[in-house]
């Protein structure tokens, strides 16, 4: 078999992504879950890179690894609940007695089966577009042009939405501050 570095890289990157995504759910400490999430995001950037979407990969690292994971970590560190920070408290007790066999095994299994079924149907029905041939060029320029011509209205709407969220966050933070000073 011919040694195809792109294929090998894809297998390694996607395997790490899947394993770390699994660890996000199973990690006992929420801090570890957040770090696994960061690794998943990083590996997804690798997948984008292998598809020739460099800009998307860089944006993925910038936004998801650099900003979102950091904010999640901040949230964990600043929260006061001991079980959230995973420090000095036992992990949440799992009550096995009152969870019946049906709820513990049959229901999750049914949910998983249903999801797999839906995904199989989707994958077999949808006709996937072929890999775009001309994507090797200057993707940044293409994205920029598309954003400011065809997608100008969604782009502006997203900007306004983010602005509203920003102002909302400030309003909430200021109100909480005032209350603390009074009390």
């Amino acid at each position: 078999m011919d040694f195809d570095p792109t294929r090998v890289a894809f297998i390694v990157v996607s395997a790490i992504a899947v394993v770390s995504a699994f660890r996000v759910v199973t990690a006992a400490k929420i801090m570890h879950a957040a770090l696994w999430l960061g690794l998943t995001f990083l590996m997804l950037a690798g997948v984008f890179l292998l598809m020739g979407a460099e800009f998307l990969a860089a944006a993925q690292v910038l936004i998801y690894v650099g900003a979102i994971t950091t904010i999640i970590l901040f949230g964990i560190m600043l929260s006061e609940a001991a079980e959230v920070r995973g420090r000095g408290a036992a992990p949440l007790p799992v009550r096995r007695d009152d969870a019946s066999l049906f709820r513990r095994i049959v229901l999750p299994a049914l949910a998983v089966l249903a999801f797999v079924g839906v995904m199989v149907v989707v994958y077999s029905q949808v006709s996937w577009p072929d890999a775009p041939a001309g994507l090797g060029g200057d993707t940044v320029r293409m994205i920029g042009r598309a954003l400011f011509t065809d997608f100008i209205i969604p782009f502006e709407l997203a900007a306004v939405l983010l602005l509203i969220a920003l102002i909302g966050a400030i309003v909430i933070a200021v109100r909480d501050n005032g209350r603390r000073e009074q009390g």
Binding site: K29, G38, A58, V61, F74, R87
Partner: protein, 333 residues
Amino acid sequence: MYEWLLGTGMSQSLANIIMGVLKSLIIIVFLAVSALILVLMERKVAGRIQNRPGPNRLGPGGMFQTFADAIKLVSKEDVVPSGADKAVYILAPLVIFAASVALWVVIPFGPNLVVQDLNIGLIYLAAVTGINVLAFLMAGWSSNNKWSLIGSMRSAAQLVSYEIPLVLTLVAVGMMAGSLRLGDVVAAQQGGIQNWFVFPQIIGFIVFVVAGMAEANRKPFDLPEGESELVAGYNTEYSGFRWAVFFLAEYANLIVFSALATTFFLGGPSGPLLPPIVWFFIKTYAVIFVTMWIGWTLPRIRIDHLMNLGWYVLIPLALINLGWTGLYVLWRG
């Protein structure tokens, strides 16, 4: 080298991988040697500014002092605090060092002397810098120490605040060059000192230097360390080799920031007579010297002043610079 590997009958992909490993090793050795030089330089500059000789016992003018320090650090016992989150504690210095090395991928030392001139170089730099924040938080949290935790929170707040003006100045540089590739940024500044971006981008340059010093945790922005109030910040619990890695990463960040200032505003590796790589190092070390000069002259600023400087001064300045750059590019045609 690459051709030679292909000549031995090796497949192209294998040759690529070997070249990649070699280039990374060269960068790591380069960073280690730079750190040794910079530590000595820092202590000498500090000594001169504080009117004392600085290290002067080991070798001519104290030249071998840092070697001795490095050997001491490496031979120290490896200590992991008992309450620490061991896996994260061990990973944190590795993550921060990997991010520092990864930044060097796109920096042009000279014409054709770059690991990989990515076409998204500027965004790549911004993205990789963001990983540093994560590493600081990992180090501070996993140490199970209040000083570390406070230090890492300060680091993260500082890095996140100063990343915004930094990225805004990068955007302006990209607009000037009409490309996000660092090779094109250098090419746009060829042909003499009058073409350097530092003149049309003087506001951007100042914002970049201030924000870059804050990003690299240089004095007077070294609040995360703040030894008088925080012991040593996020790396309080680290010792020996792991601490050395943090130290190395810090100096790697200093030199990367200076190299970027050189590339973006000072014409990069270009100049008369001397070969480009020599000019690159002359300019980079000149920027480093200026940051050390500033750092040892000004007192450390207070945390609320730091935040105010970032949000009320640097970000508006960077935005003004962005608007001005747009007008300038339009006017230039």
